[in-house]
Symmetry: C2
Subunit: 382 residues, 2 copies
Amino acid sequence: MGSEQEQKQVILKNYVEGVPTEYDLLLVKDAPVPTLQGQGEGAFLVKNLYLSCDPYMRGRMRDFHGSYIPPFRPGQVIEGFGVARVIESENPDFKPGDIVSGFTGWEEYSLIQPTGNSQLRKIYPDRDGIPPSYYLGLLGMPGFTAYAGFYEVCSPKHGDTVLVSAASGAVGQLVGQLAKLYGCYVVGSAGSSHKASMRPCNLNFSLSLSLSLSLSHISVTFDCFVSVQVDLLKNKLGFDDAFNYKEEPDLDAALKRYFPQGIDIYFDNVGGAMLDAALPNMRIHGRVAICGMVSQNSLSSPQAVHNLFNLISKRVRMQGFLQSDFLHLFPHFLDDIISYYKQGKIVYVEDMNEGLQSASAAFAGLFSGKNVGKQVICVAKE
Amino acid sequence: MGSEQEQKQVILKNYVEGVPTEYDLLLVKDAPVPTLQGQGEGAFLVKNLYLSCDPYMRGRMRDFHGSYIPPFRPGQVIEGFGVARVIESENPDFKPGDIVSGFTGWEEYSLIQPTGNSQLRKIYPDRDGIPPSYYLGLLGMPGFTAYAGFYEVCSPKHGDTVLVSAASGAVGQLVGQLAKLYGCYVVGSAGSSHKASMRPCNLNFSLSLSLSLSLSHISVTFDCFVSVQVDLLKNKLGFDDAFNYKEEPDLDAALKRYFPQGIDIYFDNVGGAMLDAALPNMRIHGRVAICGMVSQNSLSSPQAVHNLFNLISKRVRMQGFLQSDFLHLFPHFLDDIISYYKQGKIVYVEDMNEGLQSASAAFAGLFSGKNVGKQVICVAKE
């Protein structure tokens, strides 16, 4: 690990306008590998194993300093949630061999400073019998977002009708399953905005699909792809029903079809047109959890919502939230979800890309609906 | 009170498109006075004294049957909150001379059926030392909306910063005063959308204005009029500050000026552009009470709101509500507000029009910002 060594890094090329593309992030092949020399007590080096692609990261790619998290600088290595192995350490709490999860860099090796905001914590995938990468999704920030959002923001009741958008994504898939376990009626929406350049060869389901569809067939069509998502929601994730919003010319009519009695809970991961269509279909005292607005992330002028007056007549509570406000629940979350997973009560779908060289396309794919399940990049297997 | 007698009535001419005008309601001069003959037990006759003009009534003037309250039919006498005196009764609970408040008709005399939805209750203005008309505003539905909305929906804390829109209206004026009593910093917005045809001669403040402005001067200008509203908010209602939104070319900049640290509570009586401007100015964990959307009432295609993504980063709770969900608090409300009023801790501003012939213009005036304070029609003094 001398300073002569080189490593791959993914950096932000420039502030991003509009929908991110794979050209917004740059792969650097000759970045120096960091060393502990002169770093003082508390620092340690990690080898990155898995990196998480999350929609919120788009927000850090604009030149805006008023958000809850500062922007990346052009030329800066991308930072995000990852799973890594400690390889050298001047920190008594982290020993070589420890597996950690938290903020790390999109690079092969990262230097972790004790004063930084990496919030790395040790994880025990072997002990828990859980694949390490799951700590980026099911047992990481997205899973916890689903958990805190559903139980703490949605005020669920047995028998509630629940709509989940981006339902095959990292957050949506767990929300829907938790709602089913709670005794709710659950419908998911999924879709894809780009028909071209599907890359089904990158799909790495941790379960077998009950479809007569060859996932290695490179020319799989968009319709097949979306039927994968809808089929996944119904047959693997146990949603009561699911639809592809791209096939619905009238979202209001679609929601009336799936929810003839109205919607008690809308777990909104997308904002925009789906939120606008959901509002008039809410039931009295309904709840809308505003979790993400992936449809709005890339718009300089966010899409308009017209139907807010329904909040009054239906007495709807609409609440934005961040999982970070609920961290006191994190230990309960881990206990509950590990237990549910091991009992087979919930499943988890991951979309794994291999290698840092696939990172920029994987990230861009989030915004064109390419991923099926939680989008992860495998940097190294161990 | 024979059936030969005639009375004045105000009826809906036809379903209303767009902003209501005084021509949407028709004054009928030869409607029959109702009698108790053949009505059976429980019915009684009232003489209407004061009628309430409320923005929600606009919603009943469209051909839409999906709301929480059914629409008026063209030709039907307008129904709304009123204060009336019982003049004949077959109902043991209501005796001639009783003063009642609840749903009644926009006419001189109304027949009240025990099976109807008038929800009339006896009031005791003499005992309470409160003018009877105040039971339509300060001590009626608008006042209760302010009370339930502020205490139950806004989750106020001492020191919170509070924005109230339509702040000189029936609801807003009490919200602002309750917030001040609670130890909040309160700024109100007021305005008027029609500069022409101001009718200041109809202003009937229950307090003297500290302005060198002759209210009987028919050519008072719009700017003077709005300064009346802003001055009223600051000098009579005790708001910390107030502004005329029509004078602000940039609402976002205005809110940043009045709330450099951001807004904890926005009590929204208008929707539309003010709501959109408030969202980016909310503080973390802010609350938005969606009480009315008077700016949206008359639009067939409601104005768009673009800034909902702020709900996430600021973790804002936005809640629509109706006072009818909080009726268990009504007795507390009456006790509290009568007590505050008698101690001089709150004041109340009424805009009184004389006679049923003024009703249609008074109602239309709600939507052009003509009223200063609670808009009431006096049908008869006693």
